[in-house]
Amino acid sequence: MSNKRVPLGDLFLTFLLIGATSFGGGMTAYLHHNLVTKKGWMNEEEFLSALGIAQALPGLNSTNMSVIAGDRLRGPIGSLAAFAGMTLPGSIMILILGVFYISNRHDPNITSVLKGVAAASVGLLLAVTVQIGRKQLQRALDIAFVITTIALVSILKISLPYVLLILIPVAVFLYRPRLSAPGSPPQDKPNPPAQ
């Protein structure tokens, strides 16, 4: 890790900027651009390892990432500063939008605009899913897991904790590392989610 101490104000402002400019989720690109390319606070390897931890831990990737990066750059206080910067602009904005929506929620103009936004964001989600899926879902077994999960959650309406309790042991068993089975690719264990 770089030895130079990152100024706390600079850290906060950088994350404030990320929090204020990243629309539509998918903040990994914004984080990478600011932390690695623009500021040079982390190198590629440090960024990817922090991202790996952020994705493996429960909670939102972006806020996890702000806590981890803040800690690496400036310790626990850095974590707090980065987290506050990351969530402050969005929280204020959505508070204003929320209050406006609540008082206008029966206005058909407002609801049709939001209906349009929802449709667009579903498309966006689908695009990201296909993008990640193309790399991750290569065997019939992978697809089978996707279909089973969709069926359990969307059709049978089973609560997510139970779905995970059922599927995780099965997945861990089926994807356990095996000695090179003939005809299968060498990386025969679950890959970390690529993004």
């Binding site: 929090g19 204020a20 400019t21 990243s22 629309f23 539509g24 989720g25 903040m27 994705q55 493996a56 831990l57 429960p58 909670g59 939102l60 990737n61 972006s62 806020t63 990351m86 969530t87 602009p89 969005g90 929280s91 904005m93 959505i94 508070l95 939008l97 929320g98 209050v99 929506y101 609540i102 929620r105 407002i110 609801t111 939001l114 209906k115 936004v117 929802a118 667009a120 964001s121 989600l125 959650v153 969307s154 309406k157 609560s159 997510l160 904790p161 995970l164 989610p193």
Partner: protein
């Protein structure tokens, strides 16, 4: 804090723990908990609030702020909870 505030805390804490891999992973579960199980929102309102989360910068899951500030009004409409006194959320 009355019973309903606790259940809000419980629902979102559980979602937070389940959100491995990102907030979108728990979106169906959030809809199920807030719309089907607890009736804090209608399906259309959930969709509208999701859109608000997309319009605001930062993590989309900040939409939960709207769900929570909206809830007392919804609660009054559905009169689901037996107790009538609750502190402003």
């Amino acid at each position: 804090m009355n019973q309903n505030n606790w259940s809000i805390l419980g629902v979102f804490s559980l979602l937070s723990v389940l959100a491995i891999g990102g907030g979108t992973a728990v979106l169906p579960e959030m809809r199920m908990a807030t719309v089907d199980t607890h009736h804090w929102l209608t399906n259309d309102q959930f969709r509208d609030i999701y859109s608000l989360g997309q319009l605001a910068p930062g993590p989309n899951t900040l939409m939960v702020i709207v769900i929570v500030i909206m809830w007392p009004g919804i609660r009054g409409l559905c009169s689901l909870s037996p107790d009538s006194s609750f502190p402003p959320v």
